[in-house]
Amino acid sequence: MNNIFVYCEITDDRTIADVSLELLSKGRKLAEELQVKLEAIVIGHDLKGIEKQIFPYGVDRVHIADDARLFPYTTLPHATLIIDLFAKEKPEVALFGATSVGRDIAPRIASAMRCGLTADCTSLEIGDHFENKTQTAYKNLLYQIRPAFGGNIIATIINPETRPQMATVREGVMKKEVYDDNYKGTVHKVDLSVLTEDDFVVEIIERHMEQSKVNIKNAQVIIAGGYGVGSRENFKLLYDLAEVLGAQVGASRAAVDAGFVEHERQIGQTGVTVRPKLYIACGISGAVQHRAGMDQSAQIISINTDINAPINHIADYSIIDNIADVLPKMIKYYKANSK
């Protein structure tokens, strides 16, 4: 069996993006289960020594393409290099972050390789498959598991015939874990001669990157609001409690779509995945794609007027009442009891 490849994204300060390190950590586990090697791809500029950031995650081989034209990221040159590499190396599995970059490049590559791709997986497992129609048994396939149909179903997707088996995974879904600080892999310089003028027809004219101001991913306590909060103004109740508790404010997709809060605060399958000590869900019904982003929280409190809201089924405490009544009292009794 061939190896597992992870495409590593590079930040502006020449570090490997968290999502890529998370994927390397998952890739290492999959590689062990399949008894294959783990390989990484880094494409950018000024990458001297970048492999040192990568090897501790248990990477056996890193493919580096270093050229001034390759940073910042544009689709075509990165895709051309990876397609060429994949054609030669024939990976068994290829993983990408479900980021602005990964969701841009992975489909382009999958189309060129004519292979299957599953977006926004919430879990990756190894398993077998028996195809009744053709009476064919497949061993050790990648099970790509994701919510679908608006989060109302959980689908397990497989690519029995085509390789690589490709998947994208959001930041925060997999755990970042150093495998061995002294792990040693090899470096392979990627052949740049496949690039042509046609790969550079899209030119970046301006670029404003900002560190995301909102850092809900690492928050210990999150107060999240859903459509049930009702308005942008009502979200103030959440911010007030967050300030007192030293918490961050998050939101469901419905609340973001309704314009109550900015997109950076979105939690769920198409937002951020969080694992806080305490998650307070305010006016969130709890569609599965939201729960996919928060159900690993250590404790969950749901505040909802609807006793039948699905979120209550995973909550440790369900407060069946209006948030306007509950949140100010939480502030009051937090202050009273913490003195």
């Binding site: 602005s100 969701r103 189309s111 791709l117 690519n159 000590k277 709890g286 995973i314």
Partner: protein, 290 residues
């Protein structure tokens, strides 16, 4: 020469508003209860196309959609808002297509409309949220792609300049035409229907729809041939059936689990002072907060 924009659009079940009636007693989704709508980001794409049409003197906006017969509804909807014409790609052989088979099909339809200057589509459809069909169609057509467009800053006969909305910032990129652009929900909302266009196109139908009409449209259509919406099948596209539908889809669904919400032991409280006081004491006591 006329500037031709092809807008790829999809009719989708409205998965965002899964209300109580959309859930069956066993906790699974009742698909029949979900209304079919114009995929939201495809409407943003249509708006960007119409803004270009507003600006350029000679510009044509064509809607291309793939789906069952009823998907013709979104072609009409687009024409009520300013699109010039549309094509419905429909055939049972397309059933079960994943994004790769879909993009193959769409790319064949786009080729039938050559020469074109620009392809616009929503970033993703809400029933799958994959965001794959735009880039895959671009690859099949061997043209560049620009994803997550929020605004078209400039366009002329050879180049387009687009502002992209990324997760951590914005980028302005310039590309040679033709290019495939996928549009983000932060782009301007689509304009409403124009009454004049609604009157003009309300009788437009596909061949299949005409067959099911009780009214005779023959005379009306001979006077106004533009009312006829075209349907394209596998044969019209000269498609390789091996690359379509289930057989053309490398991804297979191994298992579907309906989400049935399971209860865990949960304490039910109210906003009474005693309840909230007790809760905060408990949280503080276990060092979850504080």
């Amino acid at each position: 020469m006329s500037f031709k924009i092809i807008v790829l659009a999809k009719q989708v079940p409205d998965t965002r508003n899964v209300g109580k009636d959309a859930m069956k007693a066993d906790g699974t989704v009742n698909r029949a209860a979900l209304p079919a709508i114009f995929n939201p980001e495809d409407l943003n794409a249509l708006e960007l196309a119409l803004r270009i049409k507003d600006k350029l003197v000679d510009c044509e906006v064509i809607i291309l959609t793939m789906g069952p017969f009823r998907a013709a509804e979104i072609i009409r909807e687009a024409m009520y808002r300013g699109a010039d014409r549309g094509y419905l790609i429909t055939d049972r052989k397309f059933a079960g297509s994943d994004t790769l088979a879909t993009s193959y099909t769409l790319s064949l339809a786009v080729k039938k409309l050559e020469p074109y200057n620009l392809i616009l589509s929503g970033r993703q459809a809400i029933d799958g949220d994959t965001a794959q069909v735009g880039p895959q169609t671009a690859e099949k057509l061997n043209i560049p792609q620009i994803t997550y467009a929020e605004e078209i800053i400039d366009v002329n006969s050879t180049h387009i300049t687009v502002k992209r909305r990324l997760e951590r910032g914005v980028e302005v990129v310039k590309s040679k035409l033709p290019v495939a652009v996928t549009v983000h929900s932060s782009a301007p909302a689509c304009r409403q229907r124009v009454t004049k266009l609604l009157m003009k196109y309300k009788h437009s139908r596909t061949i299949t729809e005409l067959q099911n009409e009780t009214k005779d449209y023959t005379e009306l259509y001979s006077l106004r041939p533009y009312l006829q919406l075209e349907e394209w099948t596998v044969d019209d596209l000269h498609a390789d059936v091996e690359k379509l539908g289930l057989s053309g889809s490398p991804t297979k669904v191994k298992k579907i689990e309906n989400v049935v919400f399971q209860s865990k032991d949960s304490k039910v409280l109210t906003s009474s002072d005693a309840d909230i006081d007790g809760l905060m004491k408990e949280l503080l006591g276990s060092h979850v907060i504080g």
